[in-house]
């Protein structure tokens, strides 16, 4: 049963990268469709809509970061991979904030980005304001990233 510890910890790391990555892929794809629509009519707006398209992509990076740190901590990338079941479950739980919040915030941020792309299509002079709306959603992805990172680092020092 002790061998299950590493399995749970690895599952947490994988889900962190997987869910946040899927959310970002869907989000960037959706915003990309809207961006392509604007560029079809006005190629001069490419630079502005590209920035907005990329905003939902950050969650995938956060997921990758948490997964990488977790893999390092549990010894998968080198060192001792022998961890208890309790610790394995703790790592799993530590990865959940970025997995769940990363996925949903990427999708929601994409919708805000699409709306902002529509705004830039009509009012390119309002690009700065258009950036802020989807960027607000980023706050919650960053909070989830912080919790996951703090938890993953903190678990290493717990003797269970």
């Amino acid at each position: 049963m002790d061998k299950m510890g590493i399995a749970f910890a690895l599952l947490g790391a994988v889900l962190g990268a997987l869910m946040a990555g899927v959310g970002s892929a869907r989000g960037v794809g959706l915003a990309g469709e809207a961006a392509a629509g604007v560029v079809t009519e006005d190629p001069g707006k490419f630079g502005k809509v590209l920035v907005l398209q990329l905003l939902p992509g950050t969650q995938g990076i956060y997921g990758l970061l948490v997964a990488f740190i977790t893999l390092s901590q549990i010894g998968v990338l080198g060192g001792n991979a022998d961890i208890s079941l309790t610790k394995g479950l703790l790592y799993f739980l530590a990865c959940m904030p970025i997995a769940v919040v990363g996925y949903w915030s990427a999708l929601r941020q994409a919708r805000a980005a699409v709306a902002s792309i529509g705004l830039v299509a009509k009012r390119p002079d309002q690009f700065g304001k258009a950036m802020i709306f989807p960027a607000m959603v980023e706050t919650y992805a960053i909070l989830a990233l912080l919790v996951s990172i703090l938890a993953v680092f903190g678990i290493g020092g717990i003797n269970v």
């Binding site: 959706l30 469709e33 629509g37 604007v38 009519e41 006005d42 699409v114 299509a121």
Partner: protein, 323 residues
């Protein structure tokens, strides 16, 4: 189809909305000294094409074709838009019947933006093979053409097909999942019923005749409407006050065309929130209706300039714009 499937289409529409005529552009058109200057202004905004430089009707038709081409490019399937096109099918059917009946050349009588090919409609009427038409059109087509052949009464033929067209609009609206399209269908049918009732009331038609001409809808009880119309104008207005169209009373008292303007303005107000909708098919439907409204308003202005009507008279006929 998921709402997010329209992200590309809606973004293109957002860019296209920049070239819609706004109130300022309408003022420019109104202040033009004649029709020629209006046409020149419109051409400078990209209206029409090389072939339509001197012909207002060709220019408006070219604009309509541009909108249809854009929608066909953006949507693989235009069935969601059948609510806007099915009335054209019935218009073309009426035109084909009258052309065949009178033996005249049907060239130039058909409307674009129909779901059935005009040659198919013409062939169906000529050969009386109504199986060539979509199923909902077959029975009214046969009934209308038989009526035309037996009585020679073009109005009776129109009467049957106009009602069938309204039923088709209602059915297309009910089939749509989009709230805007459903609202458009409901308002179109209800407005047509009110117009028919008002005209029938003015000409003193009896209750059974009025009732037969009305198409059922959710916001108006057609039996009560027909009953009120048969009893006179005041009863009709009194009934209207109990419906969602109470505010149309003043317009209807003025004239049927004022009521039509009221209905068009109401549609424009209903579609305006779509300017802020980033996804769904709603903004595409709104753009189509905005373009139709724009073409209608430009036609009014051009006609006013051609007939040298006073600016105030033209202004009274104008509709609200989408942007």
């Amino acid at each position: 189809m998921s709402d997010t499937q329209y992200a590309y289409a809606v973004a293109r529409i957002r860019s296209k909305e920049l070239s819609l005529l706004n109130a300022q552009a309408m003022e420019q058109l109104l202040s033009a000294k004649d029709e020629e200057e209006c046409l020149s202004l419109l051409h400078s905004r990209g209206w029409g094409d090389a072939k339509s430089y001197d012909s207002p009707e060709k220019m408006l038709e070219a604009e309509r074709e541009k909108t249809l081409a854009l929608l066909k490019e953006l949507l693989d399937d235009l069935s969601d838009f059948s609510v806007f096109f099915c009335a054209n099918d019935y218009h073309n059917l009426k035109a084909a019947m009258k052309a065949v009946y009178s033996g005249t050349d049907p060239q130039g009588i058909f409307q674009s933006g129909s779901t059935v090919e005009t040659q198919t409609v013409l062939q169906a009427v000529r050969e009386r093979d109504y199986s060539l038409l979509p199923e909902p059109m077959r029975v009214p087509a046969q009934e209308a053409f038989d009526a035309l052949l037996h009585t020679g009464d073009g109005q009776l033929c129109d009467f049957i097909l106009d009602r069938a067209a309204l039923l088709a609009v209602k059915s297309a609206g009910e089939a749509s999942e989009n709230e805007l399209i459903r609202e458009y269908a409901e308002l179109t049918v209800a407005a047509a019923d009110i117009k028919v009732a008002a005209r029938a009331c003015a000409t003193g038609k009896p209750f059974p005749v009025i009732l037969r001409a009305l198409a059922p809808c959710d916001s108006v009880n057609i039996e009560e409407l027909a009953q009120a119309a048969a009893q006179g104008e005041e009863k009709l207005y009194q009934y209207l006050r109990s419906t969602p169209y109470a505010q149309a009373e003043d317009a209807l008292r003025e004239s049927v065309s004022a009521f039509e303007r009221w209905c068009d303005n109401r549609i424009m107000r209903a579609i305006r929130p779509q300017k802020y909708n980033p996804l769904t098919i709603g903004p595409l439907a709104a753009y189509f209706l905005a373009r139709e409204n724009e073409i209608r308003v430009v036609r009014i202005v051009l006609s006013g300039k051609r007939n040298q009507l006073p600016e105030q008279s033209v202004r009274e006929r104008l509709r609200e714009m989408y942007v």
